[in-house]
Symmetry: C2
Subunit: 112 residues, 2 copies
DNA sequence: GGATATACCTTGACAGACGAGGTAAGTAGT
DNA sequence: ACTACTTACCTCGTCTGTCAAGGTATATCC
C-alpha cells in the first residue's frame, strides 16, 4: 500500500457504500475490489473493514445476511438500504465540497 | 462551520505549512485566514491547531519565537524550515494522488 | 464595570484505523 | 497424510488526531 491511510480516513464508509450500490457483495470481495480499483495503491485493513460494516449496519445504511455457499468458506453478504443510498449521495456531495476546500487551503500562490 | 472535520483530518498540518510558506504567522491569524479562505465553511479548533503546531515543531518542520509586541496580547510566531518546505511538497503530491484515488473509489458507474 | 476581541495554552474523552491475533473450509503439491 | 496457501470471517488492545471545556492575560468600547 503506497498511500497513507490518514488521507482516506473519513471516506471508508462512503467507499463501501459506493461498492454496494453497484452490487451486493461481501467483505473479502469488496476489499479486493478496492485494491484493484486503486491499482494496488490502497487496501483496507480487515479490522477497519469490519469495523465500518458494523457502524454502517448500526446506522441502518446496510443490511447483511449469510450466503448459502455449498462449498468454500461462508460469506456474509451486505446490501445497501434506501437510507444508505441517501447517505451515499450526501457523503459524495460533502466530498466534492471538501475536495474544493482542501485544494484552496493547501495551495500557495505563485511559488514554483 | 459547515464542513465535517473528519474530511479535513490528515490535512491540517499541510494547510498550516501552506500558510507559513506565504509568510511567517501566528496561531490566531492562521486560523482566521483558514476561516476566510474557506468562506466561513471551516475553522480549526484551537486544541487541534496548537496540537498541530507542537507536532510540526517536534518534527522540525517549523520553528517558533515570541514576537515583541509592545501592545496587545503576546504572539508566538511560526516560521517554516527547509525540511518543512520539503514535507509540504511531499504532502501536496500525496494529496493529488489521494484525491484522484478517492474520486475513483467513491464513484458509481452510470447511476443518475 | 462589563462585554468583546485578541492571543495563548492544557486536560480528558472519543472515534476511526491498525497490528496482532484467532477460527474454519477448500485447494494444490509432494 | 501432511504442508502450505487461499478464501473468508471476526475481535481485542493500542495509537493518533480532534474536540469540548476549561483556563490565563491584555486591550478596547460602551
Amino acid at each position: 500500500m503506497s498511500i497513507t491511510a490518514d488521507l482516506i480516513r473519513g471516506h471508508t464508509e462512503t467507499i463501501i457504500l459506493a461498492h454496494l450500490l453497484q452490487r451486493e457483495s461481501y467483505g473479502y470481495e469488496i476489499n479486493k475490489s478496492i485494491y484493484e480499483k486503486s491499482g494496488g495503491q490502497y487496501e483496507l485493513k480487515e479490522a477497519t473493514l469490519y469495523g465500518a460494516f458494523r457502524r454502517l449496519e448500526e446506522n441502518g445504511y446496510i443490511t447483511s445476511y449469510w450466503g448459502n455457499e455449498t462449498t468454500g468458506a461462508r460469506r456474509r453478504y451486505y446490501r445497501i438500504t434506501a437510507l444508505g443510498d441517501k447517505q451515499y449521495r450526501a457523503s459524495r456531495a460533502e466530498w466534492e465540497n471538501a475536495r474544493r476546500l482542501i485544494d484552496i487551503l493547501i495551495q500557495t500562490e505563485a511559488k514554483p
